[in-house]
Amino acid sequence: MATPGICDSANLNGGQKLAVKYFTVAITLFGAQVLFGLLAGLQYLMPDFLYGVLDFSVNRMVHINALVVWMLYGFLGSVYWLLEEESQHEVVGLKLGNLIFWVLTSAVTVVVLVYLLVQVGPGKESTIWLINEGREYIEAPRWADIGIVVSVLVVFYNVAATFSKGRYTGIAGVLVLDMLALFGIYLAGMFYTTNISIDQYWWWWVIHLWVEATWEVMVACIMAYGLMKVLGVRRKIVETWLYIEVALMFGSGILGLGHHYFWIGTPEYWFSIGGFFSALEPIPLVAMVVHAVFDAGARHAKNSNHPTMAWLIAHAFGNFFGAGVWGFMHTLPQINLYTHGTQWSASHGHLAFFGAYATIIIAMFYLAVQKWRGDVWMSGELPGNGWKWKWSLGLLNLGMVGMTVSMLVSGYVQSQIERAIEGSSWIGYFAAQAHPWFTQGMWWRELFGVMFAVGFVLLVWDLVTIGRGEKRTLVPATSET
């Protein structure tokens, strides 16, 4: 092993070298997401800012697309990270995997440049193929859709083939099927229809089933690997719980799709389905709480990576509040009628995406850096008492909570004035937008956004510097039984 404290690719296996590339692009796009979020947020306060140059629609599109793509990169990177250790076999098509990484990354770059420089096109199908599909979250033009599908298929091939040649574990089985679903569901968003009800019906398949089903399971797989790795939990327990979580998540999540089918023209029976499965949603969370307490009580292990552990705890809280509390508050149709499509949705979306996904990918970043530097010490007594990771953790989380609460205040005003009293008319919309409580919420959101951005800068700084020159090392946990 090379000298500890230096980023040396000799410390990584083949899949992990590729994973580091994915992680690098992921954090770059995370930065783009923060930047364009700040621009869009500022336009709420100063409508003439960049008007006609980079309009709100463009900034907002880059903001949410960067979100989807950086998380996708984070997940694909995480899968490559654990692939060789889990299968105990070299990645079968590593060259192909590398090629596809560069193809996908070039495609993402071109898409973003077209978003920023071309922005819109004429009302023809060619625009949808070449510039912008104009459907929230999946704006990527059709040619890029095809690229994404091919890329995910290649990763799927690499994962399935590597596990088949090596060791096909329980985590492997879940991961392979999940990757297949990830690929299959994306196809549901790749066609044009004039009927907007049918359009949005399938659109939700992609958004909801990706985010609330396949991504959740992807996280569960990463968590399972992480628990064995960082805490040394035994495989049999971890895998049994992985199956339990899959059953609970898919059991409540797949038909939980119903809570998006209240108002898009779909029949009334979705009220009952959406309402019932919304009531089930907290069950997986309760399961996690009980299991976490049980696990913590059953072992008193010291963990070998404090930043990773801290971000996993942030994940537990963020997921619970963002998805659980914030989701449940406005999920019943009786109240969703007023909150659907207001700042409520934005508030919930911010905390849920951050809590459920950003946190765990950041945890993976720290695991990766630790190994890359030669399994360096990353527990207590870091230089400067680890102030960088602690402050970035604090600023990012506090910034996010601040933004979420600010938007909640704005959303509350909006649901009352615009929705309940004025009935979503043009006048009602702007009456709410101009209300002092609403605008104050938007100001606070921007301020907390700046705090978040500072936290992001610190995070990048820390990831680049943590463990540099560290001489103390650590043998990775072995958790095989």
Binding site: Q43, Y44, P47, Y51, G52, F56, S57, R60, M61, V120, P122, G123, K124, T127, I128, N132, G134, R135, E139, G170, V174, Y192, T194, N195, I196, S197, I198, Q200, Y201, W203, K236, T240, Y243, I244, V246, A247, F250, G251, I254, L255, F262, W263, I264, G265, T266, P267, E268, L337, H340, G341, Q343, A420, E422, G423, S424, S425, W426, I427, F430, Q433
Partner: protein
């Protein structure tokens, strides 16, 4: 402490996970087939595109306790009655334009999208357009170049997006058709433009 209970075993939960996932998916497929048949174009929930030849209202339904779209007397869009094919072509142009101009990243449509500009679900019926006589012209002119039109007191404006006259007419047709979709009472308590003769 119990050991090796069947309900705590790995294989039991592997099977459960597979059955729950598979079962949920089959149910979702069945529901999808039923829903798609109920929301295809030309049904009571989602009317045919030629509905733009008619007046559309949004009225309170005593039985359902919410407002529902009501298709009224003949009132062709732009004064010209269209065949089903012509209507579909015009609405299609409008829908494509709303995608090509990225409307959904400021507005919401059927409540989905971004929150920087008003919801468009019932925008055809909005009182902003003044009276039903001048509405069509107002909408076309606004969509072609909104930058110098009155929006609100906050200075938030829609930019000029290079929309042609034909595209703007398509967008208006699309918005009129969208306002006829039965959205289970969303948006609630909406106050429509005066369109009694």
């Amino acid at each position: 402490m119990a050991t090796n209970q069947w309900w705590a075993s790995e294989s039991f939960w592997r099977k459960t996970a597979i059955w729950v996932t598979g079962g949920s998916f089959v149910v979702l497929m069945l529901l999808t087939m039923d829903t798609l048949s109920q929301i295809s174009t030309g049904t009571t929930r989602v009317p045919a595109y030629s509905v733009i030849n008619h007046r559309i209202e949004y009225k309170f339904d005593e039985q359902r306790r919410v407002q529902v779209p009501v298709i009224g007397v003949k009132e062709p869009l732009f004064g010209k009655e269209l065949s089903e094919e012509e209507a579909e072509a015009l609405v299609k142009l409008g829908k494509l334009t709303t995608q090509a101009k990225n409307c959904m990243n400021c507005h919401t449509l059927l409540g989905n999208g971004a929150y920087y500009a008003p919801d468009l679900t019932k925008s055809w019926l909005d009182q902003y357009w003044g009276t039903s006589e001048i509405r069509e012209v107002q909408m076309v002119e606004f969509i072609k170049d909104p930058s110098d039109k009155l929006h609100n007191s906050m200075g938030r404006r829609m930019p000029k997006l290079g929309i042609t006259d034909e595209e703007a007419r398509g967008v208006v047709a699309f918005l009129k058709w969208m306002s006829s979709i039965d959205t289970n009472g969303f948006p609630y308590n909406f106050k429509s433009i005066e369109q009694e003769n």
